[in-house]
């Protein structure tokens, strides 16, 4: 197989659209998860009194917020999978159009 014309694909408006679509998801999603995650050590470290307040029985904000990080990770991973399925279609259409699939 001869080398694909990389520059031609890179210049294709559909490739630009694919990159834009990825950015539209990845930038807000990563800003969100980094902020949400770093909030945990910041709150626990600098506002321990607040985080020690109990919510359900003896379970406090600190433990609940830590547990919510697991849920947050799994939800974002699921959203990523959904978004990536769309990117796969865009990618497939682009490569088919240019005769690479």
């Amino acid at each position: 197989m001869s080398q694909p014309d990389w520059n031609r694909i890179a210049a294709d408006p559909d490739f630009a659209a694919l990159k834009r679509a990825k950015k539209r998801f990845l930038i807000p999603a990563s800003l969100f998860f980094l902020a949400y995650y770093i909030a945990l050590p910041v709150l626990v470290g600098f506002m321990p009194a607040t985080m020690k307040q109990e919510v359900f029985g003896r379970v406090n904000w600190a433990y609940l917020f830590a547990l919510s990080q697991f849920l947050m990770s799994w939800i974002l991973a699921w959203l990523y999978i959904r978004a990536a399925a769309k990117w796969d279609k865009m990618e497939h259409a682009l490569l088919a159009k240019l005769g690479h699939r």
């Binding site: 890179a10 830590a66 690479h100």
Partner: protein, 530 residues
């Protein structure tokens, strides 16, 4: 002589069974492992769920199984902070690293970094960084292993380290990536089975009631042998009362290192080359996140549980907290001798699997990046040479780590070495990976200065930290975790190194190619026989 030093225990029996099974797998892998792609990347034929289990197996080290459960038992909530960071970190892997790496690389992290750049300087530095991370990580595992095996099976420190080292070398040298992958998969399944059983036994002890469990944890008194304390409250390790004024900032710094370091760990990155394509790499991260997440939530059950069930005298070694033995001893108390044997064998298997994964990534990087690409300008001198060099490197790296681990002895601080590995990975590797894929202006000088800046700042800061060479009193840098400073330094030196040097037309021209490859998978290395 050696055999007279210990008696045959159920734990030893189960471990021997594990070794026997994995050696059979290694034998069959060795029949298949002909050619570079087979040896370095398991023929790119591993399925998504299998690689997910293998990633989890590579990641859930003895440090996290035994170390974190012990830390939660003694320090409560603050120990759980490690567990959280270990999972969230996989979002970085999923979003930015797994798919582009699989699409654009061949065997190592450096394949991606060197793509647009002058390959030799970038590969040399990336290989140095890989070897640094892997070697420190491995010594930490080996030293931990020696101590744990002594406690579990009664074999002395030096023969235990040698035993682990030699077995690991058999997997890596003869079986390559395929055997290593199956060792990880089996170990991950055993570890999950052990963790779930142990958690259920803890809940059973508390009448299968979460309310009763958390009640007990909130006034944990080590079965009445110590004053009750609320282990659900943060601050016992990093609070200002326990760690001084810098404690909270140290916790934030630790968090940054964990969440950004995982995506730069070479032994995790190479796993994504073992699957047929980027979509399978994506699926494998999802599997890994499911397994790793459940596992780290369970650490609170057996960690906290131990503090409510075990007497202080049972989990202390003299005046010292016997952190690494908490989980196995809890298993013994709740499940009897046979379950203790199972958990001990799982711990041993865990060490073996992680050490094999680390050796594999170190030797791959040396053979592929340094020997073939830096010394011989990317040309194999004879067919099969790269694999032969990797096998020799594995033997050398293995022997060196065995020697270093025995020389440093059981007293060396394993947390220090693991902290170093994460800090170097986050500060040196991650900035350069991200800039390579996403920044068109990025050039060779930027890649080299980013790797050097991240490597030097993270190692330097740890050396002058409270866990470094001057101890707590003489420390110049107040934090044990350097990430909050060294990660920005890594990004900044990659950025400045680029902007302060001339534009590199060739690197910018090849950005289009790398971008198309990374985003679409066009031209990616294909799996053999598919």
């Amino acid at each position: 002589m050696l055999l007279a030093a210990f008696t045959f225990t159920p734990a030893l029996g189960m471990f021997v069974a594990f070794v026997a099974v994995t050696l059979v797998i290694t034998y069959f892998s060795a029949q298949k492992a002909t050619g570079s792609a087979a040896y370095f990347a398991a023929g790119r034929s591993i399925k998504g769920w299998q690689n997910g289990l293998a990633v989890a197996g590579d990641y859930m080290s003895a440090a996290s199984f035994l170390g974190i459960s012990g830390m939660i038992c003694f320090k409560g909530y603050d120990g759980f902070m490690y567990s959280v960071g270990f999972l969230v970190a996989y979002l970085t892997v999923l979003f930015f690293v797994a798919e582009p790496l699989r699409n654009a690389g061949k065997y190592t992290m450096a394949d991606l970094l060197a793509y647009r750049m002058s390959p030799r300087p970038v590969r040399a530095m990336a290989s140095l960084s890989t070897l640094t991370v892997s070697t420190f990580y491995m010594i930490a595992q080996m030293v931990g292993a020696g101590g744990i095996i002594k406690g579990l099976i009664g074999i002395e420190f030096a023969p235990a380290v040698i035993g682990v080292g030699v077995l690991m070398l058999v997997y890596v040298v003869f079986g390559g990536m395929l055997a290593t992958t199956w060792v990880q998969i089996i170990k991950a399944i055993l570890l999950m089975a052990g963790a779930i059983t142990l958690s259920v036994l803890v809940l059973k002890h508390h009448g299968y009631s979460f309310g009763a469990f958390f009640d007990a944890v909130s006034h944990a008194d080590y079965a009445g042998t110590a004053p009750a304390k609320n282990l659900l409250e943060p601050g016992m390790k990093y609070g200002t009362a326990a760690a001084g004024p810098w404690g909270p900032l140290d916790l934030v710094s630790l968090g940054l290192g964990l969440v950004l370091g995982t995506a730069g760990l070479p032994h995790i990155l190479v796993r994504f080359y073992t699957v047929p394509d980027a979509k399978t790499a994506r699926v494998s991260v999802i599997w890994a996140m499911a397994i790793i997440g459940v596992f780290y939530i369970l650490t609170t059950f057996f960690g906290f549980g131990a503090a409510t069930i075990m007497a202080k005298s049972e989990i202390m070694a003299g005046a010292k907290e016997n952190t690494n033995m908490v989980a196995p001893l809890l298993a013994q108390k709740l499940g009897g001798e046979l379950f203790f044997a199972f958990i001990s064998a799982v711990a041993f298997a865990t060490i073996l699997a992680v050490v094999a994964g680390l050796t594999m990534s170190a030797s791959t990087s040396f053979a592929h990046d340094f020997y073939t690409n830096v010394i011989h300008h990317g040309k194999e001198q004879s067919p099969g040479e790269e694999v032969r060099v990797a096998r020799i490197t594995a033997a050398v790296v293995g022997a060196a780590s065995i020697g270093l681990a025995i020389y440093l002895g059981p007293g060396v601080n394993a947390a220090f070495l693991v902290g170093l590995a994460f800090a170097v990975a986050a500060s040196a590797n991650l900035p350069v990976i991200l800039f390579s894929v996403f920044w068109s202006r990025f050039n060779t000088a930027g890649a080299v200065s980013g790797l050097v800046g991240g490597l030097v700042s993270s190692i330097g800061l740890i050396l002058i930290s409270p866990v470094g060479m001057f101890g707590k009193e003489g420390a110049i840098f107040p934090l044990e975790n350097p990430g909050i400073v060294s990660i920005p330094v890594g990004f900044l030196s990659a950025w400045l190194g680029t902007l302060l040097t001339a534009r590199d037309p060739q690197a910018e021209a090849k950005f289009a190619e790398l971008s198309v490859r990374a985003q679409t998978g066009l031209g990616a290395e294909t799996g053999g026989g598919h």
